[in-house]
Symmetry: C2
Amino acid sequence: MPPTPAHEPRPSDPSRPTAAARFAARTERMTASEIRALFAVASRPEVVSLAGGMPNLAALPLDTLAGQVAEMVARDGQVALQYGSAQGVPALREQITEVMAAEGIRAHADDVVVTVGSQMALDLVTRLFCDPGDVVLAEGPSYVGALGSFSAYQARVVHVAMDADGLVPAALAEALDRLAAAGQRAKFLYTVPNFHNPAGVTLAVERRAQILELCRRHGVLVVEDNPYGLLGFDGQTYPALRSMDPDNVVYLGSFSKTFASGLRVGWALARPTVREKLVLAAESATLCPPTFNQMMVSSYLSGHDWRGQVKSLREMYRDRRDAMLDALSAYLPPGCRWTHPEGGFFVWVTAPEGVDTKAMLPRAVNAQVAYVSGTAFYGGSGLGGRHMRLSYCYPTPERITEGVRRLAGVLEAELEVLRTFGSPTRSTTRSAPVRGTQTPAPDTT
Amino acid sequence: MPPTPAHEPRPSDPSRPTAAARFAARTERMTASEIRALFAVASRPEVVSLAGGMPNLAALPLDTLAGQVAEMVARDGQVALQYGSAQGVPALREQITEVMAAEGIRAHADDVVVTVGSQMALDLVTRLFCDPGDVVLAEGPSYVGALGSFSAYQARVVHVAMDADGLVPAALAEALDRLAAAGQRAKFLYTVPNFHNPAGVTLAVERRAQILELCRRHGVLVVEDNPYGLLGFDGQTYPALRSMDPDNVVYLGSFSKTFASGLRVGWALARPTVREKLVLAAESATLCPPTFNQMMVSSYLSGHDWRGQVKSLREMYRDRRDAMLDALSAYLPPGCRWTHPEGGFFVWVTAPEGVDTKAMLPRAVNAQVAYVSGTAFYGGSGLGGRHMRLSYCYPTPERITEGVRRLAGVLEAELEVLRTFGSPTRSTTRSAPVRGTQTPAPDTT
């Protein structure tokens, strides 16, 4: 929205410093994410958006929920509408330990901290550990919301390569050694092991112990972010990193993908020394998470077949994944590669050499299809320009097919220009070399 | 809760650095507030708690609310349960401008940012403006949640004296000059002008322009926190600082005291340059505030006589204020003074010289009455030891009377010991001199 002129600053004294001059240093790196800037155009109905990561709520039992929430207000409104503990509602924290048990986690409710979405947990973990200039290791590409939090605390992100089996242990070892040689140590490794956003790959089970061992040996904490873990299309789950090393892993979970994102209920699980600080940080961030939302989730978990609901979500997302993979095979020009997600929301596409997906985006939107350029997932480093994230979570299978068909047309035209002129038109990203361990493109076809 | 031994860190390698060694510098000042530590004992039913600041929700129309929320879920569930904009739901932002109009604020919905309680707004404003070591000016005493946020960003708080008419302009001028002489400038003045927490006083209207002029001249932003503004017992409202200087004031509001704290819906109003950064900071903090809660508040505001509800809240709190002031007059020993709030939740009591309210608290809880020691509102500086905050918002008038009677007994015993031995028993605070402009005790009787 454009600023309203009437509210623009009108300094009465020209020598008075402007508000901008008084911002803290950390605000210099606060800029709108590429994804955010895109939403306005991508939300026009004629555009097939393969850009957003919004869960599909069509299958939610709204009538049942309406009854449950009305009963909760009538019966427990005095509690639900009142301040609660900064750590979260005890009954929900207990239920969260049951949810996590599906991925092999044995935990005590005392060590769970409920947050306003797992984004808040991510923000608070960064607040606890990162001084300005500290290093965070993260997959390349990495979740854009995490990169935003790291940036807000002036942490420096070192990306580590992935392949079809997720984070590459050899690349992690190399990054850790390189940091050690420079006299540095990362504060933590941030990783999305299951059905990665944006890469659509899953960390192979045999790599998990290796990665934990590497981090432990180097004194580097692991922050495991697992919003999609229960959305494996065959119902498969993987052992959480937290289940294999309770001491050195902070685990982040969320109900945004398995129930309702608009309630903003997520959590962190951490050992007591970290959990105590998390609660204090949460208290100064919001006093307490909304009691109402926590009780709603709690009543949903106890009064509804939530596992059955997750199963039907998996099936819906699997159909959409299938539609996308089929369309990619059918329509994309030779030289394109993409990942084959076994769960979650996203496919990561690698275009042929020379294509600049960020520069191409306006032409794609013109052709009524939207995606997110790979550059968004490297925090403005210029990497990722050959890649794009396609999401299949929200549109119908028919729309997905049509979107990919349109995208294929745009890519064809782009490649035609490249063949004719040898370079992309109107490039807006710096052309970073995309190779070696800095080429974290999961590139299975 | 005590840590569960099974989850205690068990480092496999003694040379491995502990997590504590890897925390960021800012965590050193993250400690549990005195208020928080108190809640466990004060919540025992036999204790009359004059400590908490929980709004009284007894008058909320729960059946009406239950119907409204059920209808919202059934009709708009797909929106209410989905991610929303980081800035907040547009319809609610529009309604918020109408709520603020009661205090003379003319604002555009584009400049409103909805937050998870106004605590989050406070946290984000501090994030935007405070580098470590930066100075924040705040009333002495000041809201404990604000002090927590300032501490989390390593800001240094300079307290400015109040009297029965709120913040003292001469004391503010002196503080600003002293900072200027030292080559420093505060980032902002944090102030609760109406029905102050914890002091129970209101900034006189004629002082408002003076304070704004002083801040403007020194290039110091004003952060106006106004959760109680509509709770003036005679229905009186005061012109918001924001209404008098739209450029240089960031205004914070909340539905926690006028509707329901457990929904955690607050807001900030700021000019565009600041508002844009606030939205970016909010995005990395929580992605977006809960859509569900915003729509609930919106439907409450449009579908219910919320002004009538606020009026009945005012009447309820006035009765309780009266009960407390009557009891203080009837029971408290000579030499005690207290403020006479015309709205809000709190009375600030000054005990006779020599009394140490922090040391006295265990004896008070033993006598089954709880309060918050004045030291909590000075961020551990040792100031405030002669003072205590009494809240009348939550207990019934009968309980308030009984609580004050018990407190009077404890004070009598304390004074008796002082007369006999000349010093308080078991003092736990350093005995700060309480006088001059560092004596911000609003001391009207």
